[in-house]
């Protein structure tokens, strides 16, 4: 197992290198100029050129790449063109809101979707099954931002139960932190609940006709125990896979959700950096997201061994 993990970790190095090259090239090939944005609308050509020089953007692309790569390999992600702060500092500052949102969303999605999926499978063809399947179609079809605006309209504007926007750090109080996470997490979790519930239902349905389920029932075990201990445990591998995919999909989701709810997390940082063509920040955030994606996949693969002892690496 350890050798497998080490091999997989080693494999992330070429992946990250490819991502680094692609991100760097795509940004430089985009018809944009951070210096012109920084200088402001009233700046003349000389002012823009001066800023371009200061940022090192007047140098050939290969020189810029070598400088950036060299620094990145030493752990220096550079300084943001706009914020006059180290990118590492910016990312660390934005990590808490994004991690909070992601963890809260995943917990919410798993806690709702897995029981729903299991019950839908148990009551296949019944009204609960139809509701869960109908919700799944809806959850897949409606864009995240539409769900966000609908929830805001109902819970923040009409009922005035929850805030429209913003984030409060955990250190400033659990209540405020939780209060500001509910709507964004609900928004993000809708599609995940739809996805996980549907896969859970299908997986549980597949195992419900297996011999060991019949045996468990013949031994007199309760339906609840049969469902959880025997059916769900044996259906776990595809469910874990889809949860892993869901976590990875969250990376895209937080970009939209953080923008809609004005949460100062990594997603919002990404949007701001892209709009401002803040190359060092964009490069660093995309590298970080890519690394997260690779690591999530690795964790999912390792998790399989816990649910299915037949899987060996």
């Amino acid at each position: 197992m350890l050798a497998y993990v080490m091999r997989r970790l080693a494999a992330t190095i070429p992946v990250m290198l490819i991502v680094a090259v692609l991100v760097f090239l795509m940004l430089r090939l985009t018809p944009s100029d951070p210096a012109a944005i920084i200088a402001g609308d009233n700046a003349n050509s000389e002012q823009v050129a001066e800023i371009r020089k200061r940022l090192g953007l007047d140098q050939p692309i290969h020189t810029q790449f070598v400088i950036w790569m060299g620094k990145t390999l030493q752990g220096d992600l550079g300084e943001s063109f706009f914020f006059k702060k180290q990118v590492t500092e910016l990312i660390l500052d934005r990590l808490e809101p994004t991690v909070s949102l992601a963890v809260f969303t995943i917990l919410l999605a798993v806690m709702v979707a897995v029981p729903l999926g299991v019950l839908a499978a148990y009551r296949q063809g019944g009204w609960l099954d139809r509701i869960v399947m109908g919700f799944s179609v809806l959850g897949f079809s409606v864009p995240v931002f539409v769900i966000g605006y609908m929830l805001i309209y109902v819970f923040a504007i009409q009922l005035n139960w929850l805030p429209v926007q913003g984030y409060q750090r955990l250190g400033q109080g659990v209540g405020g932190w939780l209060q500001r996470l509910i709507l964004p997490s609900l928004t993000l979790s809708v599609v995940l609940i739809a996805l996980i519930a549907r896969i859970t239902r299908t997986s549980v349905l597949e195992v419900m006709n297996e011999d060991y389920i019949r045996t468990a029932r013949a031994k007199g075990q309760t339906e609840g125990r049969v469902l959880i201990r025997h059916a769900l445990a044996n259906a776990a591998v595809p469910i874990v896979t889809v949860i892993g995919l869901g976590v990875a999909a969250l990376i895209g989701g937080v970009v939209v959700t953080e923008s809609v709810y004005t949460i100062p997390g990594l997603g919002r940082l990404t949007v701001d950096a892209v709009l401002a063509r803040d190359y060092p920040t964009i490069q660093a955030v995309i590298l970080l997201f890519s690394l997260a994606y690779v690591l999530i996949n690795l964790i999912v693969d390792i998790t399989y061994t816990f649910f299915d002892p037949r899987i060996r690496y």
Binding site: G40, V48, V164, Q168, P264, R268
Partner: protein, 526 residues
Amino acid sequence: MGYSRRSMLAIAAAAVATIGLAAPAHAQKTLRAVMHSDLKILDPIWTTAYIVRNHGYMVYDTLFATDANGEIKPQMVDKHDVSADQLTHTFTLRDGLLWHDGAAVTAEDCVASIKRWAAKDSTGQKLMTFVDALEVKDAKTFVMRLKSPTGLVLLGLGKPSSNVPFMMPKRVADTDPNTQISDFTGSGPFVFKRDEWKPGDKTVYLKFDKYKPRPEPASGLAGGKAVKVDRVEWRAISDHSQAVNALLAGEIDFIEAPPHDLLPLGLGDANVAYVDWNPWGNQYTFRPNWLHKPFDNPKVRQALFYAFNQEDFLKAVVGDAKYYKLCSSYFPCGTPFSSEKGMDGLLKSNFQKAQELLKEAGYDGTPIVLMHSTDLAVLTNLAPVAKSLMEKAGFKVDMQSMDWQTLVARRSKKDPPSAGGWHAFLTSWVSADITNPIFMGFMNAGCDKAMFGWPCDADMEKLRDDFARETDPAKQKVIAEAAQTREAQVVTHIPLGQWYLGALTRKNVVDMVPAPAPVFWNMAIK
């Protein structure tokens, strides 16, 4: 598990109660504002971005300021003496001016600040061509000696918009003008809370208790800057509809520039008001590129003037006539040099005349590469209107859509339009930036030294120089009119009408001072 249903309910109830109790208490005197953009850069001399200018007005003070009538009034200056030959200007600072660190503001600080500003700002650069020496006389007095008289001394030092000559401590003003400052000590009415500044989240300012406002009432950017709130927070909400939702829910108090189409949503709430804080408004502008055919020919550029009419542009973008004004003047209506001289018969969509001019110019049907900005609501519909009117006049138009930042990058390219360059684009100016021939960047016809579009006209440059040399406002107006008349012949750009966009505020936010930039002194929360 050992939890009963009752204990679970109790835990849930406690959690809900905790959420309610932990909701942040709203300080009565905190004004929560959403500005047009997030504040990312903090040096108002280093960039011309308006959000940084607005930050500058919070933290820094100015020697002079433009009042509601467009007149320049003393601000930090107590006394301004001009010698009989108009070559020596002596400035004496007011008593009791302090930096946020408690040190006294000195003449030495002001001289260093003027020098740094003048190194970056185009008006400052022009002013310095007249300046022989800037000398500190004593702690509160400094002297500006000129080589020849100029009207730019007050116009420059009282410049209302980017770059504003903000005063900074000497140790800060000594920073290379091309390097951003890292010490944000000012002497303005608010103190910047650097430790609470979170780009992408919020910017915080506290009332500067030791600020000494002038005795006069606030007027435009001049007069007494009395601060009536304890704290101002600029919240970074990039989504306009979310900002309006937050205003309706009472989570914020002020939105600087909500899009026109969201105004009815906000104003549908009895607790929300519209405040026209910028009575001079903004001006739409068409900018041709003089470097490339066919706009290297003045007759082709004049044809544009005959093809366009302002109302089509304003209706398409702004819509509601309450928020726009037809104004056939290069210098915005309502500002001191506004005039319609030389503009007879123009901007009336006289397509026949435009076609005649194109024929005379020998226009060969070269497609005009018109850059179309798609992501800023206040600009998006301009280019399609221009295309339609130009085609009716006989132009062929290749409208290329892109986001504003791409347009900003591309407009600085001098390459031919077929090789990544451009023929024309449309933009908008804050009126305060274009109130005279020197401020108006697009009127600069200094060839390579001009802004993108690179107009080249010696007569126009002479008129601008004459304006800079003139000290009598009445004579300045005559020169400004002559420059406008020359504009109608050479066409460095075309004014396409004035438009207005005020703020949405909670009704308990009162007494905002109308000014060319959004300012927070005098504002109070009832």
